[in-house]
């Protein structure tokens, strides 16, 4: 049972997609319920995995291994540790709530849910894979449906955004692919490497790659995963993509897909190339402090609600990179925690904006005002997401950011200082949006807008509840993350190299 758990998490959405295939298009409630049911299986299995994971023991657990192509050492091997398990939990929460957030979809819902479920299964696969080949394969499984989902069900320049996003992600993954093949060949080398062919990430991480190779390979990983995170200036696909995507896809996209970049950078980049990472870290630290402040500044002058949130993601993902670039336990702990926290927070944001957009058919901030009169629940949810975004204690984002700053300031004091300044700008743009959209006198134009009710509030409750739960009791998750990060941090402390600057 234990070893099959991860397979269940990955395959449940696929099973759901196959089931939906046989449901007639017009039975939309059944289609949605089926999607909800199968994503719930993933959610339940993830929660079970959370409880079954033994933190005291640490390391890779819930392992499953099936040989696939023996000549190349490709194995379908799954397992989770303290870094990947929280992200699997994140994915399952976001997709489950995402299904509810797309409850009022009308157009071609059958295909929509099929693609959505295939996509999420790919994401689960990336986080659960211990094999580099499958890591890559699942990643591609996640990217392709995204193109269709945005291109068909999107809004606002959807074809442009879908194309842009897909191209960016594919270019990024090309870099990763080159890096992965180089690693594989180096690993198979009988003298310098292991002497046998394998894609197993843990085995490859044991190879002592020579420094020149590490510089080269980490650079590829940094650019490749940097596209995903996204690292400035490789980020412009993300606001466009977020804006164009339908609600559930935005949630998944900003909530989870961007985390693949941070996760890959930690799992493959840091773990396999500690010295290369040390070499490039100062560059990452510099770029990410541009991310954090510049992203926040850009968010301040956006007119479209979704663009505000899109750029806020750019800003917050900068913190993830900052934590990674610190290369110490606290910083990476914070980075992983921030991926989780930002994922939940941004999913909440997109669920709210989606809800408003569905009813008001506009997202322009200037057209709103006084919406708290008509939609108090939506206003409250937005407030919670906003407060999480500006790092209020009591919500999980604060814990994550605090840890990141604590880690980064010890290594890059000035750059950390500049990044911390983003919390002021964040407060400004979040509260300005809050004021312009929800506060002010009642606007009769929106009097027929109904507050969120019924299934619509499921995402709001689950997502904000998660933020509060881990914000008040951070040890529930931080223990596990710390446990996964410590071996990595020890390795990084052992293998060092001077930075690029």
């Amino acid at each position: 049972m234990a070893s099959a758990l991860l397979a269940i998490i990955i395959l449940a959405p696929i099973a759901g997609a196959l089931t939906i295939l046989f449901i007639p298009e017009k039975e939309d409630v059944i289609i949605k319920s089926t999607a909800a049911f199968f994503t719930f299986i993933s959610l339940a299995a993830s929660v079970a995995a959370y409880f079954m994971y033994d933190v005291a023991k640490g390391g890779m657990q819930l392992v499953l291994e099936i040989p696939w192509v023996n000549e190349f050492g490709i194995k379908f091997s799954l397992g989770v540790d303290g870094i990947s398990l929280p992200l699997i939990l994140l994915t399952s929460i976001v997709i489950f709530t995402g299904v509810f957030a797309s409850w009022d979809m009308q157009h071609r819902i059958k295909e929509f849910f099929i693609f959505l479920l295939v996509l999420v299964s790919g994401v689960f696969g990336v986080f659960a894979s211990r094999d580099l080949f499958f890591f890559y394969l699942f990643f591609e499984v996640a990217v392709i449906p995204m193109y269709i989902l945005i291109g068909v069900w999107g809004s606002t320049r959807k074809e442009y955004a879908a194309m842009k996003l897909t191209l960016y992600l594919l270019v990024g993954s090309a870099f990763v692919l080159i890096g992965a093949i180089a690693m594989f060949l180096y690993g198979a080398d009988p003298v310098k490497g292991l002497g046998y062919r394998t894609f197993d990430i843990a085995s490859l991480a044991q190879v002592q790659f020579d420094p020149a190779f590490q510089k080269f390979a980490f650079f590829l990983m940094m650019i490749g995963f940097g596209f995903l995170v996204p690292m400035w200036p490789l980020h412009t696909w993300s606001p466009d993509g977020h804006v164009a995507a339908p609600t559930a896809v935005s949630m998944l996209h900003a909530g989870v897909l961007m985390k693949l970049g941070g996760y890959g950078l930690i799992r493959v980049g840091l773990a396999c190339f500690p010295e290369g990472a040390h070499y490039w870290a100062p560059l990452i630290a510099t770029l990410c402090c541009v991310n954090a402040t510049y992203g926040a500044f850009v968010a301040m002058v956006q007119k479209d609600l979704k663009f505000v949130i899109g750029y806020s993601s750019v800003s917050h993902m900068g913190y993830v990179l900052l934590g990674i670039s610190a290369m110490n336990a606290v910083g990476i702990d914070g980075a992983v925690a921030q991926m989780f926290a930002h994922g939940i927070m941004t999913a909440l944001f997109f669920a709210i904006v989606g809800n408003i957009y569905n009813k008001a058919h506009t997202r322009m901030i200037a057209e709103f005002g006084g919406l708290a009169h008509q939609m108090p629940r939506v206003a409250y949810s937005f407030l919670i997401a906003g407060l999480a975004s500006l790092g209020l204690p009591g919500l999980y984002n604060f814990v994550a950011e605090f840890a990141i700053f604590m880690g980064a300031i010890q290594v890059y004091p000035v750059r950390a200082f500049i990044s911390v300044f983003a919390i002021v700008i964040t407060a400004i743009y979040v509260l300005r949006v809050m004021m312009r959209v929800f506060f002010g006198p009642r606007n009769p134009r929106w009097d027929d807008l109904k507050d969120a009710r019924g299934v619509e509030i499921v995402p709001f409750i689950i997502l904000s509840g998660t933020l509060i739960l881990f914000g008040v009791f951070p040890d529930l998750l931080m223990n596990m993350i710390d446990n996964g990060v410590v071996p990595l941090a020890e390795k990084l402390a052992t293998f060092k190299m001077g930075g690029i600057f």
């Binding site: 842009k164 191209l167 960016y168 400035w232 200036p233 980020h235 412009t236 510049y294 500044f297 850009v298 301040m300 002058v301 956006q302 110490n328 336990a329 606290v330 702990d333 006084g370 708290a372 009169h373 407060l387 209020l392 204690p393 009591g394 604060f398 814990v399 605090f402 840890a403 700053f405 604590m406 880690g407 300031i409 010890q410 290594v411 200082f417 911390v420 300044f421 919390i423 002021v424 700008i425 407060a427 400004i428 509260l431 300005r432 809050m434 004021m435 929800f438 506060f439 002010g440 006198p441 009642r442 951070p474 040890d475 931080m478 223990n479 710390d482 410590v486 941090a489 020890e490 402390a493």
Partner: protein
């Protein structure tokens, strides 16, 4: 009782949760829940205070309990993160908790009358409970991190309550301003505690003072100054010190009881409390102390001068709060947390009362402009007399509470050798008396200036006023008798004797201020309009509060938004432009290359033939290594 102290913040939190999730629909049950929560906290606070005195718990040997909250590993030379949530009971926190819970209780009772009929009635009491929780968490905290936690939640609650009537754009704006101004302070505060942790390895107040006391911290003087200055940014914003004071006068947009609790016990007091709590750290850096003292002194003077010309009753009180906070900060800067906390305590009672009194007036006449009131003393006797008591206490007239604490401040400043600040503070005492009695003579005496139908407020509102008046009269003398100086102190107990000279001078100034106000606004010996004309530039400067708000607004509009606009342009035009440009290049290249894929067979045949000819020629050319000779 000490073992139950952790419940003090918890009760209001429970009340908040219950109201939000269960009882929101029913107004009366919500009020009952909020009241029950805060009264329970009050009872335990009193018990804790009594036990603290009886058991002889001192500043040096506090009662402390903590639980683990977060543990992150330290690897290599980098520090981990070790955060506890705990409670720290010593005379400082015990007195402060009593002040907070008692004032919160009275304000909540008062609010029942004041908020009667408001559509957001239950929501209001929920926020008030959360406010009390946050402040109590901050007070009871045993480490800087926990304090920051409460600190930020206090900021959130002030945002929610100032913007309580969110339909008013001015209220929404004021709420934003309060939160964002405080955010600037929090930015410094957070950096400060992070650096503190990196250098000391702990957030715990006791451990930090032990490390500093042992002199073995190994932390450089420059770093300590940096840390303490960064942390001071927090109190500067929260206790509204110049130049981060701009949010407090605007905070008037909330319901009046909110202003009352905000100015007395829960929000602005937090900054002063932090200075007292972390004094061991500030004490390590003379530069920081000097900075604190002068910032306090400047705030006290500037705010008092603004108050001289305001017309809005709440604004006058707001600037008076600013000025008094300046006093507290200044005296902590000169080295006496005893005087600072003493004044915080007495000020909390009489300022709370003054605001509630103002609320009672506004409730009755529906205006905040004192020049539209007049002659209220006959219609509202209880409000008037409690207000006068409050004003006398604020002016520092013997034997009311303000006299004792203000005297402590002046004495401490004088003894520490800050003669300039001492005279400045004495002058401010005179100004305070003047503007308070200007308000009283205009609003409560004289003829009715407009056709208002004032009436005394309901007992829900007057009873808290009377209770607070009792404290305003006796708390100063009472605390001196209780030996406050030997309870709350830093280093050595401070046994302040009343210095007759200083007491006399300050009393002369205060009485002078009152008499002047009486002459000008009651006897009308000079024409105030004429004065206004003659000193037009100064009047304008004060009326417009030195144009500081305008300057900030300009900075925000031009600098912050300018940078944002620039970043946006850069993103859309440059970064995205390059990316799209790359894409276009590829597409154009493709379009250009397309001429080869014409689809017509003849063309392909021609190309193939041409290629064959070229290859044959190449192979035939000896220079290129051809084989045909």
């Amino acid at each position: 009782m000490l073992e139950l102290a952790w419940l003090i913040p918890i009760f209001p939190l429970i009340a908040y949760t219950l109201i939000i999730f269960l009882t929101k629909k029913s107004k009366s049950i919500s009020v009952a829940v909020a009241l029950a929560g805060i009264v329970a906290s009050l009872v335990i606070s009193i018990g804790v205070l009594v036990e603290t005195i009886q058991k002889g718990i001192t500043m040096a040997e506090p009662f402390e309990v903590a639980v683990k909250w977060l543990r992150l590993s330290a690897i290599d030379k980098y520090t981990g993160l070790n955060i506890d949530m705990g409670i720290l009971i010593d005379p400082l926190s015990a007195v402060m908790m009593f002040v907070v819970t008692s004032i919160a209780t009275l304000v909540i009772i008062y609010s029942v009358g004041y908020m009667h009929g408001d559509p957001g009635f239950s929501r209001y009491f929920a926020y008030m409970s959360l406010f009390a929780f946050s402040m109590l968490l901050l007070v009871i905290a045993n480490n800087f991190f926990e304090m920051f936690f409460g600190w930020e939640l206090v900021g959130l609650c002030s945002y929610l309550l100032i913007g309580f009537w969110f339909e008013k754009p001015s209220a929404a704006k004021a709420a934003n301003k309060a939160f964002i101004t405080n955010r600037w302070g929090d930015f410094g505060f957070m950096l400060g505690i992070i650096l503190l942790y990196i250098n000391f390895g702990t957030f715990n107040f006791g451990e930090i003072s032990r490390i500093i006391g042992d002199g073995a911290s190994g932390v450089g003087a420059a770093i300590l100054t940096l840390i303490s200055l960064l942390i001071f940014a927090g109190p500067m914003a929260k206790s509204a010190q110049f130049p981060l004071h701009v949010w407090l006068p605007d905070a008037m947009e909330g319901p009046t009881p909110v202003s009352s609790i905000l100015h007395a016990a829960t929000m602005v007091a937090a900054g002063v409390y932090l200075l007292a709590r972390g004094f061991v750290l500030f004490n390590e850096s003379t530069e920081t102390l000097l900075f604190i003292a002068y910032i306090g002194g400047i705030t006290a003077f500037i705010a008092a001068s603004f108050a001289l010309v305001q017309r809005d009753i709440k604004r006058i009180l707001a600037y008076s709060t600013l000025s008094q906070l300046g006093y507290m900060v200044m005296v902590i800067g000169v080295g006496s947390i005893t005087a600072g906390m003493f004044h915080l305590t007495t000020h909390a009672f009489f300022k709370c009362m003054l605001f509630l009194g103002a609320g009672s007036v506004i409730h009755a006449v529906h205006t905040q402009d004192i020049f539209e009131m007049g002659g209220l003393s006959k219609k509202m006797p209880i409000t008037t007399w409690t207000f006068i008591i409050g004003a006398l206490a604020l002016a520092g007239i013997f034997p009311l509470s303000g006299f004792w604490s203000k005297d402590e401040i002046l004495l401490a400043t004088h003894q520490a050798g800050f003669t300039g600040l001492y005279w400045l503070a004495t002058l401010v005492a005179g100004m305070t008396a003047f503007y308070m009695f200007r308000l009283i003579f205009i609003a409560f005496f004289g003829e009715k200036r407009t056709d208002h139908h004032a009436h005394e407020s309901s007992p829900w509102m007057t009873v808290p006023l009377i209770i607070l008046a009792f404290f305003a009269v006796f708390s100063g003398w009472g605390l001196v008798k209780m030996g406050y100086g030997s309870m709350v102190f830093f280093g050595h107990p401070h046994h302040g004797e009343i210095n007759l000279g200083i007491a006399l001078i300050s009393t002369v100034f205060a009485l002078g201020g009152i008499v002047l106000a009486w002459l000008i606004y009651y006897r009308k010996i000079v024409d105030t309009d004429l004065m206004k004309q003659r000193f037009r530039p100064i009047y304008n400067l004060l009326w417009n509060k030195l144009y500081i708000d305008e300057i900030y607004e300009w900075l925000f509009d031009k600098v912050m938004l300018g940078v944002a606009w620039l970043c946006n342009q850069c993103d859309r035009k440059v970064v995205d432009g390059i990316a799209d440009g790359l894409g276009d290049t590829v597409r154009h290249t493709g379009g250009w290359m397309r001429f080869m894929q014409t689809g017509s067979l003849q063309n392909y045949a021609l190309v193939i033939f041409g290629a064959i000819v070229i290859i044959v020629l190449l192979m035939a050319t000896p220079v290129l290594g051809g084989v045909i000779r």
